[in-house]
């Protein structure tokens, strides 16, 4: 019998592999999604996230491994034998049907009684704020409205799992920010187990309760958005999620605290850094987020790690200022700060940057 913990898992993917000819699109992936949570599959194109989605929806069948939905094995069930709602990237609204007919399509096929169909259709259109547009055809709606119809259509038959395929990528940047908030509100209200597939880390971070980073058919890291961002498990995740600085150095020895080491950088500076596992004497890369840097104050020297360099460029980009600093023997460092002190720095200035040892991470070089 399934334990209580297992029963609360709405979706379980266990050791699933899918090959297309010689290409392994999904390679032995295992993850689970708890009831009512939103999980994002994040990765570059071709990483296997879309194939994973299609496997869960039932458009593809795994070569090996098991997919279970609500505790029942569904590996080889057809799409209409699972209760999975799907928001397609191109929305896939039926162009020959009105908004109302689109929304009712799933309800009819899921055998809802006549009265329930009307109620349910009204409720989901209310939810996505599209009441009054029932008799329109998809071609008469804006992109954002079409997306909400598609979402309403997917939610109408009360699916066990909702899959969103790149939900915001087809919209332009400004609309995207608006709709992201709106989408989040809707998902909060329906409380449906949701999987979002996206290549956009902002989308993943803002929508997901947890994020699964994928690359080349494998899962690189699974965790909360802040975990993924602050403590990437490997170089790929660090590079793919957010911007990062890589400072080449050598691990010297264990630092004063547990889990920290001293690293000697190319310019001879010795800094402390968080380090999960790297033997002393090995070459390494020190990873620091651009916004982890500050301009060092007098108090910082001693308590924080510091680097001295010369300002190469200052680019005010609205709310943020991007500053590039050339550190001799280390390379170019990108610093992102709020647009408050940016005007004080100028090209050619000598500057001392500081960062907390806890905000950096040491990755051993692969070879």
């Amino acid at each position: 019998m399934a334990s209580e913990a297992a029963a609360r898992k709405a979706l379980e993917v266990a050791g699933v592999t899918k090959r297309f000819g010689a290409v392994t699109a999904v390679d032995e992936i295992t993850f689970s999604v708890p009831q009512g949570r939103i999980t994002c599959l994040l990765g570059p194109s071709g990483c296997g996230k879309t194939t994973s989605l299609r496997l869960i929806a039932g458009f593809e069948f795994p070569d090996s491994g098991v997919i279970s939905i609500g505790g029942a094995t569904m590996s080889r069930e057809r799409p209409y034998e699972r209760k999975v709602g799907l928001l397609f990237q191109d929305y896939a609204l039926f162009p020959h049907m009105t908004v109302h007919e689109n929304v009712c399509y799933g309800l009819k096929h899921r055998r809802y009684p006549k009265a329930a169909i009307q109620n349910r259709s009204r409720a989901v259109l209310e939810l996505v704020k599209l009441r009054g547009l029932e008799q329109r055809y998809p071609s008469q709606l804006s992109g954002g409205q079409q997306q909400r119809v598609a979402l309403a259509r997917a939610l109408a038959p009360e699916p066990d799992i909702l899959l969103l395929d790149e939900p915001l990528s087809a919209l332009d940047a400004k609309l995207r920010d608006e709709l992201r908030v709106e989408l989040k509100d809707i998902l909060d209200k329906v409380d449906c187990t949701t999987i979002v597939v996206t290549h956009d880390q902002e989308e993943a971070m803002s929508l997901g309760n947890s994020i699964i980073v994928m690359n080349e058919g494998r899962i690189e890291q699974e965790g909360s958005p802040s975990e993924i961002y602050a403590r990437p498990a490997n170089r790929f995740v660090a590079d793919f999620v957010g911007r990062s600085n890589w400072l080449r150095g050598v691990v010297l020895d264990a630092g004063p605290m547990e889990g920290f080491v001293w690293v000697e950088l190319g310019n001879g500076a010795k800094v402390r850094s968080r380090c999960p596992a790297a033997p002393a004497g090995s070459a390494c890369d020190l990873f620091v987020r651009p916004e982890a840097f500050t301009v060092a104050s007098a108090a910082d020297r001693g308590s924080k790690e510091t680097l001295t360099g010369r300002v190469h460029d200052v680019s005010p980009l609205g709310s943020d200022v991007h500053v590039t600093v050339d550190v001799e023997g280390v390379g170019r460092v990108v610093v992102v700060r709020k647009n408050q002190w940016g005007d004080r720095l100028q090209r050619g200035d000598h500057v001392t940057l500081a960062f907390e040892a806890a905000d950096s991470l040491v990755f051993a070089l692969d070879r």
Partner: protein, 275 residues
């Protein structure tokens, strides 16, 4: 300045030349039709040179009182209706299949299906005659229908395939994720969206079947023959203007049925239905 004017001169000349070309093409296409339409109303009781000296409806009277021609017309109508319906069903199903299938030899199969369009009708007709008689298989009307399905279904296949190109695969998948089976998705989503192509193919098929001589010539027999066959054999025996009257009748029939169909099914309206 000078080169500009030179270029304008070339533009103007080309425009005039194009209009002349259009006019010639138009005349080439329509003068024969106009001549035969006019001759159908010829009042002279014998075949005489164009233009007619007076007008009458006598040749239409001849046409509608000739049992021989009327029986041919009746056969043609039944044949064209039956074969275009079968061709529409077979052709559109083949198109649905070929559109989504990705297998080795798909292109070859498609070429094979479309080959009746390039094989001369005489060869097809003769081949079918030999095949059917050696197998002792079909006779009379069913034999004619079989022959006409063969030459018309590639038209339906091609028209349907063309209309399927614009239909995204995600629509079928959306239908299936909403609980529709493969058949329901085909019938409720793909077919209504491809309807224009399917019906356009059907109209082509009907027209080709009404018009065909080459294949029908081999598959007709003294009791079952089509209107074109009747007209051809009448032309050999006693050539008079009943043929012109019959042609005009067919022309009007074709124009009327196309107009009727267009009104009923929004022909040419594309995928999106107006509210």
């Amino acid at each position: 300045m000078k080169t500009m004017r030179g270029k304008r001169w070339i533009d103007d000349t080309c425009r005039v030349a194009m209009h002349v070309l259009f006019a010639f093409t138009f005349l080439f296409l329509f003068v024969p039709v106009l001549v035969s339409v006019t001759m159908a109303f010829d009042a002279r009781p014998y075949l005489a040179p164009f233009p007619p000296s007076g007008l009458s409806l006598q040749w239409f009277g001849e046409f509608f009182s000739s049992d021989y021609l009327l029986q041919g017309l009746w056969t043609s109508l039944i044949l064209a209706s039956a074969s275009s319906l079968v061709a529409m069903a077979v052709g559109s199903l083949a198109a649905f299949g070929l559109d989504r299938a990705r297998f080795r030899g798909r292109e070859l199969l498609l070429s094979l299906f479309l080959s009746p369009l390039i094989v001369p009708g005489v060869i097809l007709g003769f081949g079918l005659l030999l095949l059917f008689s050696s197998l002792d298989l079909l006779e009379g009307l069913p034999r004619l229908i079989a022959g006409h399905v063969l030459i018309t279904f590639p038209l339906c296949l091609r028209a349907t395939l063309a209309s399927l190109v614009g239909i995204r695969k995600s629509l079928t998948e959306a239908a299936m994720s909403l609980g529709a089976t493969e058949w329901q998705a085909l019938w409720e989503i793909t077919f209504p969206l491809a309807r224009t192509g399917v019906l356009a193919g059907g109209i082509f098929a009907f027209a080709v079947s009404m018009d065909d001589v080459a294949v029908a010539l081999f598959l007709s027999d003294p009791t079952i023959y089509t209107l074109p066959i009747a007209l051809v054999s009448m032309m050999r025996a006693n050539f008079d203007l009943t043929i012109a009257a019959a042609s005009l009748f067919l022309l009007v029939l074709a124009a009327f049925s196309t107009w009727l169909l267009a009104r009923c099914v929004d022909l040419g309206q594309g995928v999106y239905r107006k509210p």
